[in-house]
Subunit: 494 residues, 2 copies
């Protein structure tokens, strides 16, 4: 046996590639952020839904076409087929929160309220090549309304998103929810005389570059083509300048306020019926946002939003943080998008054959948390516990009574549980725990009924800043009677 | 295309067998419970850890011996081996929260504080045959201290468990944390002259039935054997009555208080060194619990705790709820165990070769939540939103403004977003949402600047209880000015 054991190499203590662990504040900061968002969603009448992490590949659907590799993009495995047991089904980890919502909306369509407002928060998994900052498990936070064709549902989602951003601490003026509409683009294409979905796809692909190449760049790409930064020539779509004009008018139609923008859009869609419908929807959304007290400084009609126009079928939303941060190379840049969404059809259609309209938003949890950290808004809970040190291992009960007294007063506290022999190690431990205070009681102090209370925050400050006399005065350590332990710690913690 | 589509059958909208979804209160009630537990753990100096759901099969370890079927008991799959990409590793979903803790403790041993106190809450997955109430994904909630050999760590875990149970609402007197020690049992076996681990295993297997068969049953099983309920004869272990005596003395040594129990245990272990060490550990734990203000009505030394004695190496804990509930058949029974744990070695040894002592507790999340529900302690958050109905679809903005006003006052509220044509459907919807109040404003009310506020809770009560005159008086519906909407709703909600 011993021989066999020796032969077997020790297992590697590593997460699989592309996976990570979250420690301490990583967990509590994200949780605090999601709790605040959930509170806003709940107040808007949205109910939580937590689906199982595992779905049948059949229900997830998206990946079915590639029958030879059903696990492309997802983590999938086949159940053993056991008589009376395993079904032989292919199972997979969910890759987003929308596919499970579709399955739930179909499975429970007779039990759920219609419309069904739900929010969901949790990990999703992607079987993709990991890279720096790109993980194969990450959090999503979605809110969707299923079963309402009314743009009132879209307006509500936008208002709720603005409220959620403020609830997590983003100040008014530091974010904007921008709203566009796929139907308006369809109208513009109709006005431009672009027909055939293939050409429409081409146009969509080019205007997707609007953020990068600007108005003139898109004009070139829609007509005769242009050279990109590397010098390579990108073929144009082949529209005439006259055809391209309404598309460019659409992209640049944002005016000084919603009313001006809507006027510009009316002009851009010309006589198109679908275009007029789209502009009217945006006008309704603008009116409803106003009625809900959401000013144009918080959510605004903005036809330059191009992300998602290819996927969504009606209104499209995007939330951007407008403050600047320093990037990896120390350059200022705008923080950018933290949430996106829109209206989509056919959510449930795969399952039931019925079209069910839906609209929703997804917040990029990691990006929003990074934004809060960049603004110093996420770190409230980082203080470590008060550490009660151990001078005399036979008096553990006394030290535990001290910690219990502190906890009973609502103060986070723990007894040092390592080998107490080396006192320096105990203070190093307190430092590693970011402890604000250490409690010390040796035999003579116990006899006199006192404890030493060491202010570690002040101590660290004095160590770097104090004069010799200040240092000698040792104001960072005070002796108090055992009965005054809690009040003295409370005084130091402020 | 259309023809192809017809051929493909629609996917089934179902969770995989053994998986389930959690809706609304299922999510919020569990979350509220876990939040309260986390608060207690945090106050005791424990830090949260959230490991990835996916581990390498190599790191999970337990299932490796069966090389032909590495996925027995776990959901596992092999990564594609792609040059520069997938490693060809076997990956698996974690089956508990302890195996990932072992991996983390080894992987980050140079960065983590020593000892490392951590708690973890989250789903785990088991590839087992599902059954009624037996799911393949469920929650666990663990707290462990890694790297401390001191029984102070065990005492702290027991105190924290008692605090956690009270924090979620279990009253003092309705639970008990019972503490035993594997070392005491080892001492008893030594005193009984039982040697050889095979015989010790046999004895363990029999005393595991103590809860079911009682003292005399165990005596038979340890000696000559007995008939079970079905009439089948179960062979005995073959001890003499004299050998069985110390084992039975151990199991029945609980006295009127800890001091009496410890005296009985001293007698049971006789001259055994390991036994004396075990009894001394229990005495220390008893003293520390007392110092922490945890009375014997909350946590007590109880050698009849046999669950886990085979697995743990030192102190063993179990939390039981002592109140009675009615089971499926209407019979009274004690609720029973909701948490268990103990001290174990070798957590990290597989990875590093070094023994690292650890101790911890795992709360059965579903069982504890079921207990809270049985006691009516979990359902605080079940109230639905105020529903603003839609009488005139052209005035959606007005209705949304009402909902926004209510939300601004902290009241959960939503506008009906379905087809407003049939008003009866709107009230049915409000009922399905458990709405406490419905708001109604038709054209004439809008002109007069008033709204109807319908108290749905009172309305439902009147419908079943009221006399005809009371019913005619319609006290469940009041007309107030639009400006008084919020205050009237607040009055009704109390």
């Amino acid at each position: 046996m011993a021989k066999d054991k020796k032969k077997q190499p020790r297992p590697k203590a590593e997460t699989p590639k592309g996976f990570r662990d979250y420690f301490g504040a990583d967990v509590t900061e994200r949780k605090a952020m999601l709790d605040r968002i959930a509170e806003i969603y709940h107040r808007h009448g949205f109910d939580p839904l937590e689906t199982s992490a595992v779905e049948t590949v059949e229900a997830l659907g998206k990946f079915l076409p590639d029958v030879d590799r059903p696990n492309a993009g997802v983590f999938a495995w086949q159940e053993e087929a056991v008589p009376g047991g395993g079904s032989g089904d292919w199972l997979a980890l969910r890759y987003d929160l929308t596919a499970p919502l579709a399955r739930v909306a179909a499975q429970f369509r007779n039990d759920l309220p219609t419309p069904y407002r739900r929010y969901a928060m949790g990990p999703v998994w992607r079987n993709e090549k990991p890279g720096p900052g790109r993980f194969r498990q990450f959090y999503q936070c979605d809110a969707d309304t299923v079963g309402s064709a009314s743009v009132a549902a879209d307006a509500e989602i936008c208002a709720m998103l603005a409220d959620a951003l403020e609830a997590v601490g983003i100040a008014r003026g530091d974010y904007i929810v921008r709203i566009n509409n796929r139907k308006v683009l369809n109208g513009v294409l109709e006005a431009a005389g672009v027909d055939g979905s293939a050409t429409a796809e081409d146009v969509l692909r080019q205007i997707d570059k609007f953020d990068k190449v600007g108005r003139d760049g898109v004009l070139s790409l829609l007509t005769t083509g242009r050279k990109d930064d590397s010098g390579a020539f990108i073929d144009g779509v082949g529209l005439s300048e006259a055809q391209a004009a309404p598309v460019l008018a659409f992209l640049t139609s944002k005016g000084g306020d919603n009313a001006a923008t809507l006027d510009n859009l009316h002009a851009a869609v010309g006589a198109s019926g679908i275009g007029a419908e789209g502009v009217d929807e945006l006008a309704q959304i603008a009116a409803m946002l106003k009625a809900m007290g959401i000013g144009e400084d918080r959510a605004v009609i903005d036809p330059s939003v191009v992300r998602g126009l290819g996927y969504y079928t009606g209104p499209v939303f995007e939330a951007e943080l407008t403050f600047e941060i320093l990037d990896d190379k120390g350059r200022k840049r705008q923080f950018g998008s933290v949430a996106g969404g829109g209206r989509y059809d056919g959510l449930v259609e795969r399952f039931t054959g019925q079209k069910v309209p839906a609209t929703g938003i997804s917040i990029g949890v990691d990006r929003l948390l990074a934004a809060l950290r960049a603004k110093g808004l996420a770190g409230a809970d980082a203080m470590g516990p008060v550490v009660v040190t151990v001078m005399d291992r036979d008096r553990m009960a006394d030290y535990q009574a001290m910690a219990a007294d502190l906890r009973a007063a609502g103060i986070r506290a723990e007894v040092y549980l390592g080998n107490p022999k080396n006192f320096g190690n105990q203070l190093k431990y307190a430092d590693k725990r970011s402890a604000p205070v250490a409690i010390i009681q040796g035999g003579d102090e116990a006899e006199r009924g006192v404890v030493q209370v060491k202010d570690l925050v002040l101590g660290a400050k004095l160590a770097t800043e104090a004069s010799h006399d200040e240092w000698k005065a040792q104001p960072a350590q005070t002796e108090v009677s055992r009965a005054d332990l809690v009040s003295e710690v409370r005084r130091i913690l402020g």
